[in-house]
């Protein structure tokens, strides 16, 4: 009987979800001009420092166990903020890429596609990295290496820079530099 109730509840929620998608779709606006000001700035060097295994080992050796665990938790929470910010920025850039890949200029379209691909890669990796960071917060001694996310992020900003160069030559580096 409980299983039946659970299944009915799941079905009702699913139905509400699908009907909600219909309503949401009707009000969705695919307006890329709304994207301005949606990105947040990031300090890549600081992020790398937070997830640097050498830095972690250094702290582990120098600090008492309890103090290290508390500090490591703080460091990972900060890194988690960075990752969430990276994922949010990637979502915005993905929309820029989506719009750019519809361009009639094949070079702009190709760079837009590359931007979309990199942003998606980054978002998937960010999802995995968040899981690892949460695990690290729960168990501070756990070995985690989400530093690769920084490389993906650099790749993403390079793609955006190329897109900017193709679209408006005077400004490209400013965009990438601010991400």
């Amino acid at each position: 009987m409980i299983t039946t109730f659970v299944l009915i509840a799941i079905a009702v929620l699913a139905l509400a979800f699908f009907l909600g998608m219909l309503r949401g779709r009707a009000s969705a606006v695919a307006d890329a001009s709304n994207l301005r000001g949606r990105t947040r700035s990031l300090d890549l060097v600081a992020f790398r420092n937070l997830v640097d295994p050498d830095e972690e080992n250094y702290l582990r050796e120098r600090l008492p166990r309890g103090e290290f665990r508390a500090l490591q938790r703080e460091r990972l929470r900060a890194a988690l903020d960075y990752v969430q910010c990276v994922a949010a920025n990637a979502a915005v850039l993905q929309r820029v890429g989506e719009a750019a890949r519809r361009s009639e200029d094949p070079r702009v379209a190709a760079t837009g596609q590359e931007l979309v691909d990199t942003a998606l890669d980054l978002r998937i990796y960010a999802l995995l990295a968040q899981g690892k960071l949460y695990a690290g917060i729960l168990i501070p001694g756990l070995r985690i290496s989400p530093a690769r996310i920084a490389d993906s992020y650099e790749h993403l900003t390079r793609a955006l820079s190329r897109l900017g160069r193709l679209q408006t030559p005077p400004h490209p580096y400013k965009i990438a530099a601010t991400l």
Binding site: M1, T3, T4, L7, I8, I10, A11, V12, A14, L15, F17, F18, L19, M21, L22, R25, A30, D31, A32, S33, L35, R36, G37, T39, R40, S41, L42, D43, A91, Q94, R95, V96, E98, A99, A100, R102, S103, D105, V108, V116, D117, L120, D121, R123, I124, L127, L163, G164, Q167, T168, H171, K174, I175, A177, T178, L179
Partner: protein, 253 residues
């Protein structure tokens, strides 16, 4: 076999009459190239229900003959719906090459997980047997299938929603219509597995009514014009400025 009300006849015939229009639109707009399984499913539903309608109104056809025809039709429909879900996945992921492999892997694992869950529920909570093992088995099968199909569609929506994938109107309409149908089927199958097929309203009117809604959703999205996305070409000047401000703020921190 037995007299039906006007509403019953309407709910049976109207969606399939609309599906004739749906098939015509698919072919006319050459969408059958992109959605061959959806066209096949639509045509199959039209033919199946035409045959069942004739059988239902022929006095020489026994209840068993009708039921066997209906069950065979149901099994083929289930197979086609799985193929349709696979087609929806392919169409959604088509413009995202980096996600193709991940999407396939996710689909396989999701099917495996949902099958295991459905089998576990079937063992833990078998359908109530009111005299017919076949009907009890079919009810359990229906519940399992509805659970798997609903789960796969939910997964697709959640996956694409998390990654912010853009859907074209047609595929969105097809997937949402199928999702509404699967979710309702799951609720009905769960109730039937617990209390039997007795309630005529639940067994006939609700599925027929919901199917009608699904066909209307499909038709609406096929007829509605595809929204023209706004392109950022070039990236607006003001965006550069705001990003520059962000950079300055970052440097000054």
């Amino acid at each position: 076999m037995y007299p039906h009300s006007f509403l019953w006849h309407y709910l049976w015939l109207a969606p399939h009459a609309l599906q004739v229009v749906l098939a015509a639109i698919l072919i006319r707009r050459k969408l059958h190239r992109e959605f061959p399984v959806f066209l096949l499913y639509t045509i199959f539903q039209i033919l199946l229900n035409a045959v069942l309608f004739i059988l239902d109104h022929d006095d020489s056809v026994s209840w068993y003959t009708y039921r066997y025809a209906e069950w065979i039709g149901d099994v083929l429909s289930i197979g086609l719906r799985f193929a349709l879900i696979e087609e929806i996945f392919s169409v959604v992921l088509h413009s995202y090459p980096v996600l193709k492999q991940l999407g396939k892997t996710l689909l396989r694992w999701a099917i495996l997980g949902l099958v295991v869950a459905a089998v576990a529920i079937a063992i833990y909570n078998p359908a109530v047997d009111y005299g017919s093992h076949i009907i009890a088995g079919l009810t359990m099968l229906n519940r399992a299938i509805a659970m798997i199909q609903c789960g796969l569609l939910l997964l697709l929506f959640l996956f694409s929603s998390y990654l912010g994938l853009s859907w074209r109107s047609y595929v969105f309409g097809i997937a949402t219509g199928l999702g509404i149908f699967s979710a309702t089927q799951l609720a009905i199958a769960a109730v039937q597995a617990q209390s039997g097929l007795g309630d005529r309203f639940l067994a006939d009117f609700v599925p027929m009514g919901i199917y009608h809604v699904c066909v209307l959703v499909w038709l609406f999205y096929l007829l509605a014009p595809e929204p023209v996305p706004l392109a950022v070409s070039p990236v607006p000047e003001c965006d550069f400025e705001s990003w520059n401000r962000e950079l300055r703020r970052l440097v000054q921190r």
